[in-house]
């Protein structure tokens, strides 16, 4: 359970720092702490958090950049691997991923070595 929580925390951290947000942080002056509120509720993000973390961390896909249709195909690929998701769940997750991890979303900078 502890490991599962750790995984979820990691995914939450990554999704919270999704590319659009990272980009804003890089280009804009640092916001005051009280202004860096949690991201607005997003059902797609919530579903990704709940469902994808069931089997793996985001490290395998967080560098992917593609549109919602391609994300939808990726999610259906997981159905073939045992994911039990409805078409509606998949559409919702793909919409979120196609926005925050879409073709024009900035890449996450390589970590300093």
């Amino acid at each position: 359970m502890r490991q599962l929580l750790a995984v979820f925390s990691l995914i939450l951290a990554i999704l919270t720092l999704s590319p659009a947000l990272l980009s804003a942080q890089e280009s804009a002056p640092k916001a005051a702490p009280q202004e860096s509120a949690a991201p607005a509720p997003n059902p797609g993000r919530e579903l990704v958090l709940a469902k994808c973390g069931q089997c793996h961390t985001d490290s395998m896909w967080r560098d992917q950049r593609q549109d919602a249709r391609a994300w939808e195909a990726t999610l259906y690929r997981m159905v073939g691997r045992g994911a039990l998701w409805t078409g509606e769940d998949i559409k919702t997750m793909a919409a979120f991923l196609g926005t925050d991890f879409g073709p024009s979303s900035p890449r996450i900078k390589p970590a300093a070595r």
């Binding site: 395998m60 896909w61 992917q64 195909a73 259906y76 039990l84």
Partner: protein, 640 residues
């Protein structure tokens, strides 16, 4: 006198020589003649024909190679899989007049070993794979590794290339302590020290390999022993096999039964020992008695009928926490699963009651805590457990079990519906194909009792609804040493000629071992091979990205270890070289048509290959894939 008898029986002295020597030793001529007469009738009886072939123990005299052949026959071996070894000439010589022992020449030792293992797994009959000395052995070792991991009783033989009287000189193809190379991969590894020990060493190898938990065994000897003449005992398998079928501890059976009937949500994990023990029906019965959901960790076979309403699906990742449902299991019972731990956490968490039933005692209690260890044959263990549970079942408990079965069925009905939704992928009709479409189309096409050999690491064999009781069967590449799929398929088809055999293999895996296609063509083993050809090591690239997310490889697109294209490799051309017809397909319509042609070829006893062009998916792929800039032509200073 003993020396004289031995010399006479091994034909190193004549009748006259024997009598002369006996009289010199003080025996009368009449007595010597009498001894000679009894020896002659005895020797004739030893080499006498088939009427005495079935005797449990018989004396045999001949070359070491002939002794080996005789003992293999007595072990129940019908097929010997091997690659050419001139030092085994006396063994080949012995095969000429022993048609009951067939030799299958394989053009590479690795796929040859996979073919032998496939035959053993599909027939549950003994077989052996042999190679040329140390050099052939090195090629076979990858598949011996697989046999060890998946607990297949594969017996392996290779001679020591050196002669006994010049061993240890680092001679041609010689390594020191050859038998020790196999020790970590086998249950038994031994070098016979004399030609007369060949048969006994062979028996010991078969006995050890087939005594559960099964595993490979290795035997070797100096090649001159194969040529030497000797006398030895040949013993039928039925008279040295331990027939080890152990019943679990009755006290633990009672403890396990109590845990199960008192559980709110028991969960059954099934495994390969059920398939081997032919106990699938018993596992179904136990699950039905308790209304217990059933799942499986990674294994070789599908060990439970997937269409059954209590089947909740495979565990998708490394521990039970990844299972979609149920999440509230309070008692878990493993029946015959190897429970391979590849991660840090135990598959079954310590806070859940755990019953572990299997003969593989060595892997019990290693990582997981066990509340009721049931060491034994799972067929017998299930009999005992079913009886013990039956005794404890009250009307109230039966009602609870029935209610639970309804609850499980609600989930499995819904899960089946959701899994079927895979056809709604927006890329379903794409060209090149998506891998899941290939899998789905083959599943629609396959016979209801087809055998699917799966060595396509990046894919899952969804949509087949495997059912080891008369339905479709799965043979998964559990060990993970690649290059097993084609060889395994050939061996399976040899063992089960009346069932459709389909080899589903990734292009990377295929390239490690396509050689058994030649065996399929030569032996008319009508296998359909489907290659998921995305011109890439898709799985390794995905895991590489996962290991260095957002790294320089991702940033630059410079992946050195994933792309197999430029030039693209034609699996059709490779198959053609081995004498197997095939075709490449890029879209669903072409695939369907090709499957029709594959069936037609199979009906004629011919193998067929479909090279399915599959899209690459995941991080780091592009249409113009980068490759390291190494060009031999640009390094030249002269155009030669």
């Amino acid at each position: 006198m003993r020396d004289l008898v031995q010399k006479y029986l091994s034909k190193t002295i004549s009748r006259r020589g024997f009598v002369d020597n006996m009289t010199k030793a003080g025996m009368t001529i009449a007595s010597a003649e009498s001894v000679l007469s009894s020896l002659t009738s005895s020797a004739e009886a030893q080499t006498a024909p088939t009427s005495t072939q079935d005797a449990p123990v018989k004396q045999f005299q001949g070359t070491g190679g002939a002794c080996f052949a005789e003992q293999l026959i007595a072990c129940g071996v019908k097929y010997v899989f091997g690659n050419s070894a001139s030092e085994d000439a006396q063994f080949y010589e012995a095969l000429v007049d022993r048609p009951q022992l067939q030799y299958v020449l394989t053009p590479h030792e690795g796929p040859g070993a996979a073919m032998a293992a496939g035959y053993i797994k599909a027939s549950q009959e003994p077989s052996i794979v042999m190679q040329a000395g140390a050099v052939g052995l090195m090629n076979a070792m990858g598949q011996v590794f697989n046999a060890y991991k998946e607990q297949t009783p594969l017996v392996v033989y290779s001679y020591r290339t050196d002669q006994a009287h010049r061993a240890g000189r680092d001679g041609f193809e010689e390594i020191a302590n050859q038998e020790q190379v196999l020790q970590p991969l086998t249950k038994y590894s031994w070098m016979a020290r004399d030609a007369s020990m060949i048969a006994e060493t062979t028996r010991h190898a078969f006995k050890t390999a087939w005594t559960p938990p099964n595993g490979p065994a290795y035997l070797t000897w100096h090649s001159n022993y194969t040529e030497d003449r000797t006398r030895t005992e040949i013993i039928q398998q039925s008279h040295f096999d331990t027939r080890m079928r152990v019943r679990p501890n009755p006290t633990e059976i009672e403890r396990a039964a109590k845990l199960l009937v008192e559980a709110k949500m028991p969960l059954l994990i099934v495994g390969d020992e059920i398939y081997k023990a032919k106990a699938v029906g018993k596992a179904v019965k136990l699950a039905e008695m308790l209304g217990m959901p059933v799942t499986q960790m990674r294994q070789l076979w599908a060990n439970f009928p997937e269409p059954h309403p209590l089947w909740v699906g495979n565990v998708p990742a490394g521990t039970l926490s990844s299972i979609s449902w149920p999440k509230n299991y309070d008692v878990v019972i493993n029946v015959g699963n190897k429970m391979q731990h590849s991660g840090v956490n135990p598959i079954v968490p310590h806070n859940v009651k755990f019953i572990d039933m299997r003969i593989d005692y060595n892997n019990m209690g290693k990582v997981m805590t066990t509340d009721a260890p049931l060491v034994g044959d799972v067929g017998l263990g299930l009999d005992d457990l079913i009886a013990a549970v039956e005794q404890l079942m009250t009307a109230n408990l039966r009602e609870q079990a029935a209610d639970r079965a309804i609850e499980v069925k609600k989930f499995t009905d819904r899960a089946r519906q959701l899994r079927a939704g895979i056809i709604n992928s927006p890329e379903w009709n794409n060209s090149p194909l998506i891998a899941d479409r290939v899998t789905w189309e083959v599943a629609q096409w396959a016979d209801q009792d087809a055998i699917v050999i799966h060595e396509a690491g990046a894919n899952v064999m969804h949509s087949f609804n495997f059912n080891p009781v008369g339905g479709r069967e799965l043979f998964f590449y559990y060990g993970g040493h690649l290059g097993s799929g084609v060889g395994t398929s050939a061996g399976v088809k040899l063992a089960r000629p009346n069932q459709q055999v389909i080899c589903m293999v990734g292009d990377g895996s295929f390239l490690f071992g396509p050689h058994a296609l030649w065996n399929m063509a030569r032996l008319e083993l009508a296998v359909t091979t489907v290659v998921y050809n995305n011109h890439a090591y898709g799985g390794p690239q995905s895991r590489t990205v996962a290991n260095v997310p957002s790294g320089r490889m991702v940033e630059t697109g410079h992946f050195v270890n994933g792309y197999l294209g430029n030039p693209d490799i034609s699996m059709v051309a490779i198959a053609s070289g081995f004498g197997v017809k095939g075709e490449a397909v890029t879209n669903p319509a072409e695939l369907k048509a090709a499957l029709g042609r594959a069936r037609a070829a199979n009906i004629e006893g011919k193998p067929y290959l479909i090279d399915a062009q599959v899209a690459r998916r995941g991080v780091g792929w592009s249409d113009a894939q980068w490759i390291p800039p190494i060009k031999g032509s640009s390094m030249r200073t002269k155009k030669v």
